[in-house]
Symmetry: C2
Subunit: 351 residues, 2 copies
C-alpha cells in the first residue's frame, strides 16, 4: 500500500501526488520551506495529511535552533507554515498542537515525537471512522436492502465520492473511503463512482488509483455526470471528506461538493461527511466564516497539458465550497456518527 507520509529519520518522505497516476515518486522534505512549498503545490494534500505534514515541518524548522533562538524561531516557523493553505483547519490544529508541546518542553525532539504520535493516531482515527461509517452504510442500506453487499445475492453498495479523502489524503486508510475499506475487509462488496474533480482531478488521478490498487471496483465520471448516475438509481450514498466543519454543521470541502450535496438532496440520496474531530472548528459559528482558498486560474486553463481556454478570459478558481448543514445527512467522526441538529451533536462529540 502506498505511504502518503513516512519519517525517514532525517526527512519527511512524501508521495508526490501531483505526479499520480503516471508516476509514483517520493520527495524527501528536509526543511520547513520545502514543506511549505509541498503543501502549497499539493505534493501532499488532504486535510488530515497536511496536518501531519505541517507538524513535521515545524520540527524541521526548529531542530537546528539554538536555545536562544528557539521561541522566536518556533513562532516564525508556525506562522509561516500556517500561510501555506487557508481552508483546512487540520493544518492550524496540528501546528498549534506541536507548538504547545514545543513551548512546554523547550525541545525539538518532543515536537518530532508528537508528530510521530499524530502519524499513528491518524491511522486509529481513520479506522474508527471506517467502523462507524460502515455501520451507518449498513443501516442506510440503499440498493442492497440494508445488507451493504454482504449478501452475495444482492448488488454491491454504490457509493459516489468527490475529490480524494482516501488513504492518500491521510496517513493510510482515509476518511471518506475508510468505511469502504473496512467494509471490504469484512466481505462487503462496493462499487464507487469517483467524480474526477476538476480542476486538479484528485478523483480520477488519486481516488480511482487507490481504489483500484485496493481491489475496489471504481468508475470515473466527470463531475457533471453525477446527476445522471443518481437519476438512474446507481448511487446508494455519497461520502465525502471535509477540510473544516463549522459549529452549526456547515461543511467546507473541495469545490464541487456543494453541487453533489444539492443533487443528492434532489434525488433523495444520503449525503455523508467523514470528519475526524481535528477537522471540526467550533470557533466558527457557520460556514460563512470559513476562509476559501482562491487558486491560480491557470490550474483550470493549463492544468492538463493543453491550453483549454483562450488567453485573457476571466477564470474563477475557488478551491473549496461550503455545503450548508441542512444538506448533510450525517457527519461521521472517529467518536461516532453525528446527526442533526448539528450544533448540539458536534458540541457533544468535541467534549
Amino acid at each position: 500500500m502506498l505511504q502518503t507520509i513516512t519519517w525517514t529519520g532525517t526527512a519527511a518522505r512524501l508521495l508526490d501526488q501531483t505526479r499520480l497516476p503516471s508516476e509514483t515518486a517520493y520527495v524527501d522534505v528536509v526543511d520547513e520551506r520545502q514543506m511549505w512549498d509541498a503543501i502549497k503545490r499539493l505534493v501532499v494534500r488532504g486535510a488530515p495529511a497536511i496536518g501531519v505534514a505541517a507538524a513535521f515541518g515545524v520540527y524541521l524548522g526548529i531542530k537546528d535552533a539554538t536555545p536562544d533562538q528557539f521561541a522566536t524561531r518556533l513562532d516564525a516557523v508556525c506562522e509561516h507554515l500556517k500561510t501555506s493553505r487557508p481552508t483546512a483547519v487540520n493544518l492550524f490544529w496540528a501546528i498549534d498542537r506541536v507548538r504547545d508541546v514545543a513551548l512546554r518542553t523547550g525541545t525539538a525532539q518532543a515536537v518530532l515525537d508528537e508528530s510521530l504520535r499524530m502519524l499513528e493516531e491518524d491511522n486509529a482515527v481513520c479506522r474508527a471512522i471506517g467502523d462507524h461509517g460502515f455501520k451507518l452504510l449498513q443501516e442506510l442500506g440503499g440498493g442492497s436492502g440494508g445488507k451493504a453487499g454482504l449478501d452475495g445475492e444482492t448488488p454491491p453498495l454504490n457509493v459516489l465520492t468527490h475529490c480524494n479523502a482516501g488513504g492518500l489524503a491521510t496517513v493510510r486508510y482515509g476518511t471518506a473511503l475508510s468505511p469502504i475499506y473496512v467494509g471490504a475487509e469484512r466481505g462487503a462488496r462496493f462499487h464507487v463512482f469517483a467524480d474526477e474533480t476538476r480542476p486538479l482531478l484528485q478523483g480520477s488521478r488519486i481516488t480511482a488509483y487507490e481504489l483500484k490498487q485496493n481491489g475496489i471496483p471504481v468508475t470515473v465520471i466527470c463531475d457533471n455526470m453525477a446527476a445522471t448516475v443518481m437519476r438512474d438509481g446507481k448511487v446508494d450514498a455519497v461520502i465525502v471528506g471535509t477540510d473544516r466543519v463549522a459549529a452549526n454543521g456547515d461543511v467546507a470541502n473541495k469545490i464541487g461538493t456543494l453541487n453533489v450535496a444539492i443533487l443528492a438532496k434532489h434525488f433523495g440520496v444520503p449525503f455523508l461527511v467523514a470528519a475526524p474531530t481535528s477537522s471540526i472548528d467550533l470557533s466558527l459559528a457557520t460556514g460563512d466564516q470559513i476562509p476559501i482558498e482562491q487558486r491560480d486560474g491557470r490550474e483550470v486553463s493549463e492544468g492538463m497539458g493543453r491550453i483549454t481556454a483562450p488567453p485573457d478570459v476571466g477564470i474563477y478558481n475557488p478551491a473549496f465550497d461550503v455545503t450548508p448543514a441542512d444538506l448533510v445527512t450525517a457527519i461521521i467522526t472517529e467518536r461516532g456518527v453525528v446527526r442533526p441538529p448539528y450544533t448540539e451533536g458536534l458540541r457533544a462529540v468535541m467534549t
Copy 2:
C-alpha cells in the same frame, strides 16, 4: 466573425472545432464519408450546425450518382449519415428534409439549393430566438431589476451557460447565446459564466472564445463551481441549447445540463432552453425515449494531453443527459417563448 460552415462552390468548409482555441483551422469536406467523420469527431458540432452540415453531406454523397443509382444512393447516404450521432434530432430532421427534396425533384442540385436555404434560415431562426430570448431576460430581470443591464447604473445581467450553443453551434448567431448577442447590439450589458463542460471543454474552448471575440465579458468556471456562483447570487439566469426536446418538454442537452438545472431550481434561478423548432421532436412522448450517445472513455482520461486516470478503471462517458420538463422555466423558439404546460405549448408552436 468566425464562420462555422460555408459553401465554397465545391466543398463544405468547416471550422475545425476540435482545434479551438489554439488554432483556427478550416477543413474542406468534399464527400459524404468525410462529412460523417467530421460530425462524429465533432469537427462540426452543435445540433443546428450538424443538421446543416449533414444536408451538405447528402448533396456531396449523391452529386455524382447516375440517374439509375440516384434513389439507391440517396437512401444509402441518408442512412449512413444518420448513424454519425444519435441524440440531436436536427440531424434527422435536416437529412429527411433534403431527402424529400431529392425524391421530389430527382436532382442533386435541388438538394444543394435546399442546403443553402437551410444555411440562410438558420440565421433567421437564431436571430428570432435572440429577439424572444432577450425580451424574456428583460422580463425576468434578475440582478439588474428588469433592466437587463440597459441602464448604465445597474449591474450587467449575469447569465450562466453550459457547453456551446453559440454561433459556433449554428451557422452564425447561436441559440442560447443569441439573446446575449441581440441584447448587446441594443446596448445591454452582460457577463457570462461559461461552464467549461467536461470532457470536451466546449465551454472553455468554444463559448469563452466566441464571447471574447464578440466583446462579451466571460468567466470560465469548472462545471462543479456552478453551485457556488449561484449561491453567491452571481447568476440571474441560465440559458442552454438543446439537442432534442420531447413532446412533454423534457430536454436532452450536453452532459451536465441536468446538474445545472437542479442547481438552478435549488437556488431559484430561471432555467431557460433555446430551441429552434427543428430541435423539437413531438414523436417522442418523453425524454426517456431520446437515445443518449455514449462516447469513448478516453475522452475523459486522455482528452487533454495528459493521461488523467489510471489504466483499466471504468469510465462512464454519456455525451448528453435529459432534463425533465419540471425543471425548465421556459423554452425559447424562433416562433416565441413556450412556458409550462409544455405538452400544449409545444404542440401549438409546431402547428
